[in-house]
Amino acid sequence: MYLIKKSQVMDIAKELQKEYELYGPVIDKETKQTMFVKADDAAEIDLNAPIPAIPPKHVLFPNYERIMSYKYDRQNKKVDIKPDFDEKPKALFGLRSCDLTGVLCMDRFFLGQEFADEVYKNHRKNMFIVSNTCIAPFKQCFCVCTDSGPAAQEGYDLNLTDLGDQYLVEAGSDKGKKLAEKMGLAKADDSHKKAKENAVDKSISLFDSIATDNKAWISRVMNRVTTGLIDEKVWEYIGNQCIECGACSFVCPSCTCFNITDPITAPDEADRMRTWDSCSYEGYSRMAGGHNPRKPVEDRRSKRFFCKLSYSQAKKYLRPGCVGCGRCQWVCPGDIGLPNVVTYIRREIQK
């Protein structure tokens, strides 16, 4: 445990920028929207910024990414394949604990199953993560319901906690410790640890008054979603409101569905692109030939909530798939962000 003065906390980002591409929460001047993006200048990053509209997912799992390109010489029957994996070292600075939890879900999903995903592995292998404890929640937060905040428990190299005039800096890895030592940060003691605990307790106590948008008491709902004991009518009510935009998947820190296409760049030349996809789209599960096992929109909706809220899926993430960030509720043109769906299901259970 170390300490750093508030006025110097960005020195950590600057130090990281020497070795890494630096990403962090940046408030766009024009739109006042916080985005978790690459910062050319560390000073653009604002540790006090509201929860970013776009989660850091896209740094490890980009929206639209080339994973290889190829060229087929038909005359000479020669194929030239060029893999295109991004292994640049990247530092995520000022990650909120919900988003860090999302990264951990992705780690377990992409790397911890039968096969490791090479594209993701390359993004992830040289990464430095600095998380930031939420000393107060935001309006849409419900991480206390999903056990993913307000403070990060694991997965960071360094974790920052605002203690007033200084930040407590906890090292979660050797890499983190090395950096703290290299920067010569002052050592913290148990009193600072206590101060952090108090700050976290206070943050939790503020949820009732500040985090008023969403609540998601997911535990009982998880049971129902896993066993499928939910009235069809509830899914229909949810399905009717879905305009099939895909937004919930795109903004979710733990949603990882992707599509693969080979857009042509020249005759017999193409890029293999990996792009975000969403299970809310009708074509998502349609097979060549037309058969679609998941045609009605309510089937597709129940699939997504199964992914976020079932024990079976939780086995893959080693926790629930929902990290309590509330973004799906922001972007949903229906009224079926995850917290609302949980409410609808609970309402039905109580009947």
């Binding site: 940046v26 024009e30 739109t31 993006v37 009717n240 305009i243 599509n259 043109p333």
Partner: protein
């Protein structure tokens, strides 16, 4: 930051988005949370716009046709070729030169094209394609109120407590407006849908009346009659702000319940309740489609008159709101893309307006109204087409016979096959430009990346053409163009690029959220109704009423969608199932015809026939059928035969017979 703000290029809603721009590539898109219209939402099209902007299907070099083949050329050569060819047909009134503009072009690009047509080539033959829908809406609203645009606004949806959706599958066509309506209903507004099909918004409504195709105006007239009969008109409002009520109400007297029930297929009690809900609400809005599937003038007139009688125009949370399907359809009419209009709906026959234009442009404009391409009946010899996104070229027989066709656009499309000269222009993300959404909101989409090597933005290219033709134009930027637009267009007064920098732009006139009824120079008049209340009737020979519409993923023929992968996949989901296109019929009709889903049938009308596969669905009522037109044959071989029917509106309903093949 690599996320650059902009306005979505697809439908008339005008949602705000941020494009993830890295160098010369667009790698993603994200919604703009604080945008006044979209508030952080996008639809399936909007969420995948980066795929369109990354397509390899762009035009990157000028082309000239030589010996039947298009060969690469320089801009100078191609522009010279265009100007020389048009010069051959230039007269004082160049009846042989036509311009086909696009409702996707920015206001600046459209304005300059209009200026090029009228002031450089003396041609008033400038139009959008053959969709008359929005023009009908604007004509009715302009004649009655002097405001050629949405009378209410999207931002006031949350302030209305009665919302009526008439004949528009809004969650598919303009999903984010559909979302706003849904949210308003969730918060307690009464949402009512009248449609021929059981659409998603119908499912989300408090009330749904499934009406027989072509009879919307009967329902609207009847609701108006209910207001009269039950003394529910806003009498003070009518006296103070309107004229023509007596005359209009007299025309309603003859309507009787049986006739209405027979024509609409509805229980009149339901219509009565809807009329009462409307009258007793504090504020009310109505939304209807304004495009290919838009209404005829009479239906729009009845809708308008109904709302006027209820006093639901010109007040907070009120309005008669046509919804545009394409991003700059409203702006295109604002820019005078019509044979008889100058900017801001000023008529070509308005002498003071003409004087202003003559003075500003230093010319003497030809004031003979022109003709749109579908009215030209073979007279056109040379045609300039700008930025069309349709794969299906309408009036293809006429176009292929023309001596000269030029295509100016960002993306490849089928017009290229008929063009003698092809000129590339930058995409909407590669230059500054303003777009006017369905609620009259003029928004600036700023340049976010460089166009492909040497490709010019349309405003520069059009100026280059004008210059080559001898005109002296002097624009340093689109902002200069807007300054000239504002000078010539009373509606656009007060708009300027420096004010448009802020998110959300500015609505004309003067940021008005709705028609300002207090300061109107004259009283609002009741819309004149030209025809009777006849409805298209099925007969023994043609027993089904066929409706025409668009569906979410078959959107304006989808030339843009086809350049993406995820929206394309969604498009293909149905197109693969129904490769010849589909006609939706009810399970009962399917049984009578002895067909199952995906069986091929022939649709026969008095004027033509086409083949399609049936989609059996309970979304349509028995004795009605629905086609989403997105297959080449459907448009060129069938609908063109019905050009006149489509033009008349009548909810574009055609009596047909369906036969099993």
């Amino acid at each position: 930051m690599n996320y650059k703000s902009g306005i979505c290029t697809f439908c008339g809603t005008g949602c705000g988005h941020l494009l993830d721009v890295r160098g010369d590539k667009v790698c993603g898109v994200f919604p703009m949370q604080n945008h006044p219209v979209s508030k952080g939402r996008l639809c399936v099209r909007g969420w995948n716009v980066h795929e369109l902007l990354s397509t390899a299907d762009k035009i990157t070099t000028p082309l000239i046709r030589k010996n039947g083949k298009l060969v690469e050329a320089s801009y100078d050569e191609a522009v010279a070729c265009l100007v020389d060819n048009l010069a051959k047909y230039k007269k004082d009134n160049s009846e042989e030169i036509g311009f086909l503009a696009s409702s996707r072009s920015s206001n600046e690009d459209n304005f300059l094209l209009m200026k090029l047509a009228r002031s450089v080539f003396n041609s008033n033959n400038i139009s959008l394609d053959s969709d008359p829908g929005h023009r009908n809406s604007l004509d009715v609203l302009n004649r009655a109120t002097g405001m050629p645009g949405m009378l209410g606004s999207l931002e006031e949806i949350s302030k209305a407590d009665f919302l009526l959706v008439v004949g528009i599958d809004i969650t598919k066509q303009n999903p984010i407006i559909g979302s706003e309506l849904h949210f308003a209903a969730m918060k307690g507004a009464r949402l009512m849908t009248i449609d021929t099909r059981n659409t998603q918004i119908a499912k989300l409504s408090n009330g749904f009346l499934q009406i027989r195709p072509g009879s919307y105006k009967v329902a609207m007239a009847y609701m108006a009659k209910v207001l009269v009969d039950e003394n529910l008109c806003d009498v003070d409002f009518l006296k103070r702000y309107t004229e023509g009520f007596e005359q209009f109400s007299k025309t309603l007297a003859a309507l009787n319940d049986d006739e209405v029930a027979g024509k609409t297929g509805l229980d009149v009690e339901q219509l009565k309740n809807a009329a009462r809900d409307l009258a007793l609400s504090k504020s009310a809005m109505v939304f209807f489609s304004s495009g290919i599937s838009g209404f005829d003038s009479d239906t729009i007139g009845y809708i308008f008159n109904l709302y006027l009688m209820a006093g639901k125009i010109g007040r907070e949370g009120c309005g008669v709101n046509p919804v545009t399907g394409i991003n700059n359809l409203q702006g295109s009419y604002d820019m005078g893309i019509a044979p008889d209009l100058l900017t801001g709906f000023q008529s070509l026959s308005d002498k003071s307006a003409i004087d202003r234009f003559n003075k500003e442009w230093g010319v003497k404009l030809n004031t003979h109204p022109g003709k749109s391409i579908c009215e030209s009946s073979g007279k056109l010899k040379a045609l300039v087409v700008v930025d069309h996104d349709e794969t299906i070229v309408r009036n293809v027989n006429e176009i292929s016979k023309m001596d000269f066709v030029a295509y100016i656009g960002s993306y490849k499309n089928d017009f290229v096959n008929y063009a003698h000269v092809v000129l590339p222009v930058a995409t909407y993300a590669e230059t500054d430009g303003t777009f006017t959404n369905t609620e009259r909101r003029v928004q600036l989409a700023k340049k976010k990346l460089e166009p492909a090597k040497n490709v010019l933005p349309a405003w520069q290219l059009i100026a280059k053409i004008a210059e080559k033709a001898g005109a002296k134009w002097n624009y340093a930027s689109p902002a200069d163009v807007m300054a000239e637009i504002v000078k010539l267009t009373p509606n656009y007064a007060g708009i300027a690029y420096d004010k448009l920098q802020a998110m959300g732009g500015m609505k004309w006139p003067n940021g008005a959220a709705r028609l300002n009824i207090e300061s109107a120079p004259r009283k609002v008049s009741f819309a004149e109704i030209a025809g009777g209340l006849s409805v298209p009737l099925a007969s023994e020979e043609y027993p089904l009423l066929l409706m025409i519409g668009e569906a979410q993923h078959y959107w304006h023929q989808n030339n843009l969608m086809k350049k993406t992968s995820i929206p394309l996949r969604e498009y293909n989901a149905t197109l693969l199932l129904y490769p010849k296109g589909y006609v939706a019929i009810s399970p009962q009709d399917a049984k009578d015809l002895n067909v199952r889903d995906r069986f091929t049938v022939k649709i026969v009308s008095p004027y033509g026939s086409m083949e399609a596969m049936v989609q059996v669905t309970d979304k349509v009522k028995p004795k009605t059928a629905y086609v989403a037109y997105f297959v080449d044959d459907m448009v060129t071989k069938f609908f063109l035969e019905h050009k006149d029917v489509l033009k008349r509106g009548e909810d574009a309903t055609i009596p047909v017979r369906i036969v099993k093949v």
